[in-house]
Symmetry: C2
DNA sequence: ACATTAAAGTATCGAGTCGAAACTAAATCG
DNA sequence: CGATTTAGTTTCGACTCGATACTTTAATGT
């Protein structure tokens, strides 16, 4: 009946949320800005952000409009698809992220004993994965841990995404991707 | 620059948040309802809820009004202080909490290996405590772990709150309290 | 005692969030 | 080439939240 751990997650998130009215931005704007920083080039679109946040495209469109108006994000046209928009962090946006209010939580995490930190990371990752599996959500995991990631494809473009058949730099491979799918597990008969 | 763990907490909270539009209630209403269930008699007031959630009294007053209007919570007058309101869960409120959308996360947590679960709980508790310490917030911890908790005070009223000089039942001692203060650590000279 | 101050809670307003639905424009499918 | 799908925007209405002003009751100070 008492649900201690879910309550802890909820309260931690609320602390961040309450902090996130600072710096001239609002909580959802901070979330969007963080996403744009971390998303790879297949994922830096309003649509992918909507999937990530679990919001409708219309809502996200509003948030982006505000961030673009403040000069923190740029809406660049896309060559391949003239409907699509590529979201890019501006220099000002990058500067703003240095005062990200979530940093206070990150500082507290960094101050924890390494054992606590590692076990917490593993447990939270497992939990998130399980919850997303239940609802068929996308994990938005790190590129290099994807089943379609091919290391050292050729010189010049070190790695490869075998799903989209695109070259990947080392930086690319540390970003999150909407297409990311974990390494296949041993198939079972279910 | 990449902040993995804080991002995980944020995303987990967002999943719960996105789920919390169900059951005819809104996210903040679910949070308030959960609080009323878990708060002891020194903490079941709009003011304490505002402190817990980090919101203003006015905001909380609105949420309570809605919950009372739906018949999930009762605003009982207080004998000792005629300004104060005591929030009580109604039978309907208790019934509603059985469909709490946060339960899905709790189910996933319960399905984790026991080791993951225990270490996660410890780490999250430490993290929350550190963050609250930084901002001078109240921990709202469990009554029985409070420095003012006296076990087995006398027969009939098994325990005692030595801060408020009030008797505490066994049930009381498992609820959260706005006055809760952790057991004093061994004093150091800092 | 009695005026002052503090505290618990409410009411109102404005900026912002969010989902739903209608819409535009571009790409894809058949 | 026409029909459908997809990326994204706009508009609307219900709701959240902080700020502020307010009422009622309790505590405090002289």
């Amino acid at each position: 009946m008492v649900t201690p751990i879910s309550t802890l997650v909820e309260r931690l998130a609320r602390l961040v949320q309450n902090d996130s009215h600072t710096g001239g931005l609002l909580p959802s704007q901070w979330e969007a800005l963080r996403y744009v920083e971390r998303a790879n080039r297949f994922s830096s679109s309003p649509g992918a952000l909507a999937v990530y946040l679990g919001l409708t495209k219309g809502t996200v469109s509003q948030t982006i409009k505000v961030l673009a108006g403040k000069g923190l994000v740029r809406k660049a046209p896309t060559l391949a698809d003239r409907r699509a928009v590529k979201l890019e962090l501006t220099a000002k946006g990058r500067e703003t992220l240095k005062n990200d209010p979530i940093q206070e939580m990150q500082d507290c995490i960094d101050a924890l004993p390494a054992g606590d930190r590692n076990s917490m990371e593993t447990a939270l990752e497992n939990l998130l994965r399980d919850m997303l599996k239940n609802r068929l959500g996308r994990p938005f995991g790190i590129c290099r841990s994807c089943r379609y990631f091919r290391r050292d494809h050729e010189t010049g473009a070190p790695h490869l995404c075998s799903l989209l058949d695109e070259p990947l730099s080392n930086d690319d491979s540390n970003l999150i991707c909407i297409e990311q799918t974990e390494e296949a597990e041993h198939p079972d008969s279910s």
